[in-house]
């Protein structure tokens, strides 16, 4: 068979215009997920009554729910319920004018939240309760302990894993086509539908993803390096 390099180039040229959409969805979802995930992990680390149990159940449930189901359910719910709620709340926005990219952002945020909270939980676990006792004994408040003890240790440990998460989100954002958003993956598919050169389109879009991921790897490597310097220095 002929593998058309020309078709690969054409699919890249077409799909790359939608890179902004892919990045918008995944970065937005990462930010939301990390913030909520951090708070959730903290609540579980300190064993906040009720909240930590609720979170544990919620996270266990959400881990099992396929993102495909979340997106599908959100779309069907939004298309039937959005206008009713909007009317009740006197919001003039209607579903037909609502940009469904936000459904994709919310869907991926849920995925990011579940992952981020587990990442932070792992990072906190690596710190050990002894340090908390130590912080308390020298009279640090909870907030000071979080800021001066937990965060400086948890973040460097988590950076590469967050790199992983962002990469996963970028790839998962290909599901955005389920709610009618064109990202780089569906753009590549569109570029191939006239010619049936889907294989070439996949190869082309893989190159875009790879280039983006290499950039993220380099970036997270740099941050990781800067943040773990003090761990190395301590040994000297």
């Amino acid at each position: 068979m002929g593998f058309s390099v020309q078709a690969v180039v054409a699919s890249i040229a077409y799909a790359i215009r939608y890179l902004g959409t892919t990045l918008f969805i995944s970065v937005f979802a990462l930010v939301i997920g990390v913030i909520i995930g951090f708070v959730a992990a903290l609540a579980r680390f300190y064993g906040v009554p009720l909240l930590s149990q609720v979170l544990q159940v919620l996270i266990t449930l959400l881990k099992g729910v396929p993102i495909v189901l979340i997106l599908l359910a959100m779309y069907l719910l939004a298309s039937t319920q959005f206008d009713i709620w909007a009317k009740a709340l006197h919001i003039s926005l209607r579903f037909k004018d609502f940009n469904t990219i936000w459904l994709a952002v919310i869907g991926l945020s849920i995925m990011a939240f579940v992952n981020a909270s587990e990442i932070f939980r792992g990072a906190f676990a690596s710190i050990g309760v002894g340090q908390l006792d130590a912080a308390k004994s020298i009279g640090m408040t909870n907030w000071q302990t979080i800021r001066r003890v937990l965060l400086p240790q948890a973040i460097p440990v988590s950076i590469p894993v967050f790199g992983n998460l962002l990469i996963n989100l970028i790839k998962a954002s290909a599901l955005a086509s389920m709610v009618g958003v064109v990202d780089i993956f569906s753009a590549a598919t569109i570029s191939a539908q006239q010619t049936y050169t889907f294989l070439e389109a996949y190869a082309g879009v893989a190159l875009i993803y790879w280039a983006v991921v290499v950039c993220i790897e380099k970036g997270s490597g740099l941050i990781e390096h800067r943040m773990t310097r003090h761990l190395g220095r301590a040994a000297q």
């Binding site: 068979m1 002929g2 593998f3 390099v5 690969v8 599908l72 779309y75 069907l76 298309s79 039937t80 206008d83 209607r94 579903f95 037909k96 609502f98 469904t100 086509s177 389920m178 709610v179 009618g180 958003v181 064109v182 569906s186 598919t189 569109i190 191939a192 539908q193 006239q194 010619t195 049936y196 050169t197 889907f198 294989l199 996949y202 190869a203 893989a206 190159l207 790879w210 280039a211 290499v214 380099k218």
Partner: protein, 275 residues
């Protein structure tokens, strides 16, 4: 040196992916095998969620119009060939054919010149793909032509015949309508139209019937088609000539003796066999 590194990495990436993907396919051939009594096993690439054409029923059995047609063709040719099916999603069915994992592909492929350069089409059409504009009369007029759709939002599923057709139309009429792409399920498509998120979609009659019967949509189609087309089987570009001739001949036979029409009524609800 340091400033050059990213560019080299990217180039290496480009070369590596191209090689990894293209390499295996450059050396592909036909993998049909024959057993002692001279009956060759032919693999037919088809779909696995393309209801009503090729899909798995609730018991996991492959069924649908395209599958039934290939079984009928297989019956005619049973002294030469035994057909087995290789189900996959739509794009993969084409790669299965191109890579030699399958010798025939049956999943509602429409003809155009670019595709003809890549594959050989069967000579007998299986299905009419006369596309209608489908809309919800509760939300506005029943659109009859692309002109009436000016400025409206029209939904199309990526990689479908309708999407390809709409893109072709938009190329010559750049500001006719706004194409909304997605990979909606049937429920979502119905919801998108009913809620007014899109004004219309493009689909053949059988699809409209399905929306109305299965999902109680109450939609209407344009009186006439906005695009006429038909779907065919696909063979590899350099396919076995004898196989092609025999399959094409058998297809003509099941069309002439009314088998195809019967199957169309059975699976698609009406006679959609092209003239």
């Amino acid at each position: 040196m340091k400033t050059h590194k990213p560019r080299i990495t990217l180039l290496a990436l480009a070369a590596a992916t191209a090689l990894l993907v293209a390499g295996p396919l450059a050396a592909c051939g036909s993998s049909s095998s024959s057993n002692d009594d001279g009956v060759k096993t032919i693999t037919v690439a088809t779909g696995n969620d393309g209801n009503p054409f090729c899909y798995m029923d609730t018991n996991g059995k492959l069924t649908g119009y395209d599958v039934a047609i290939m079984n009928a063709v297989g019956d005619k040719l049973k002294q030469y060939y035994k057909f087995t099916f290789m189900p996959s999603d739509f794009p993969t069915s084409l790669t299965n054919l191109a890579s030699g994992k399958a010798q025939i592909a049956a999943y509602e492929y429409e003809v155009n010149d670019q595709r003809k350069a890549k594959f050989t089409y069967g000579t007998v059409g299986t299905t009419k793909w006369d596309t209608l504009i489908i809309s919800d009369p509760k939300n506005g007029p029943v659109y009859q032509s692309f002109d009436e759709l000016k400025g409206k939002k029209v939904y199309a599923t990526t990689a479908t015949n309708q999407a390809a057709m709409a893109e072709t139309y938009l190329k010559s009429h750049p500001d006719a309508f706004k194409l909304v792409y997605g990979t909606y399920t049937n429920e979502q498509t119905v919801q998108a139209i009913a809620s007014g998120a899109v004004d219309a979609t493009l689909a053949p009659q059988y699809n409209l019937d399905l929306f109305n019967s299965q999902l109680k949509a109450g939609f209407k189609g344009s009186d006439g088609p906005v695009h006429k087309s038909a779907a065919y089987l696909l063979f590899q570009k350099n396919a076995d000539k004898t196989l092609m001739d025999r399959v094409n001949k058998a297809m003509q036979e099941i069309k002439d003796d009314g088998t195809m029409k019967k199957l169309s009524v059975q699976y698609l609800g009406a006679d959609y066999v092209p003239e």
